[in-house]
Symmetry: C2
Subunit: 146 residues, 2 copies
């Protein structure tokens, strides 16, 4: 879905009357290529390592912009570092597990969980726009040698 997301992102940015600068484009491509959770600094470093240095300010600005346009999902894994990933509009939705030992982040999807959350949002006096579920514990590798 990467190319698809990239197209959608371009369209959304154009629709918002924004221009396509070099730095933003690189961040977009990198996000699309990664697909999974990436922190702002991982993005900055990866791009720098590829010989395409992008200013830190541009990376953060781009991520903030994409977040406002709902093109990326922001996930706070609880270490004080924000992570981002391309938002999936295909109806498929997934969440994350964070390993307390090695910090590894895995993804999972569960219809039952989604259904439960949907029902909750009907029941509460609260308009749920987004929901983040973060499970913390030990991943398969770390659980063995706890």
């Amino acid at each position: 879905m990467s190319e698809h997301w990239l197209e959608r992102a371009h369209a959304a940015l154009r629709a918002a009357g924004l221009r396509s600068g070099g730095g933003r484009e690189l961040v977009l491509e990198e996000l699309a290529a990664a697909g999974c959770l990436r922190s702002a600094q991982e993005l900055e470093r990866t791009l720098a390592d590829q010989g395409k240095p992008v200013s830190r300010a541009t990376v953060y600005r781009t991520l903030e912009l994409l977040h406002e346009l709902a093109l990326v999902q922001r996930v706070d894994t609880g270490n004080g570092v924000a992570h981002f990933e391309p938002a999936d509009h295909s109806g498929e939705h997934h969440h994350h597990t964070v390993c307390d030992r090695c910090g590894r982040v895995l993804t999972f999807a569960d219809e039952e969980l989604e259904a439960a959350i949907d029902r909750i949002s009907d029941r509460l006096p609260f308009a749920v726009h987004r929901h983040d579920v973060v499970l913390r514990g030990a991943c398969a590798d770390c659980a063995g040698r706890a």
Copy 2:
């Protein structure tokens, strides 16, 4: 349950061979009195306003200690600020809604959600120790005048 929690906290701290200093005690009381989510700085400021200034280091150390002893639950509401609240050991478990407009945090509980998460932890190659569910959106007050 506040007094109850306070007692339990005292017992746990004593059991760990720790002493009861003035600063820690104040943080404990404030947490118990608040009951709900509080950030480290809110605690620090509240105590200072009450004429009981506690060093920032002490507040953080106390919270870290309580977290290790599973006496407080740490919840990251996604603004880069960690929030804490007394852990409820009565089996009752609740989660939070965060309003994107006013930042208000409400709590809710849902058995179906808990059950879904339990089943997920059985299914995944991941030992789930804790889980945080944060719903973001607009609270009843803000939804009206969005």
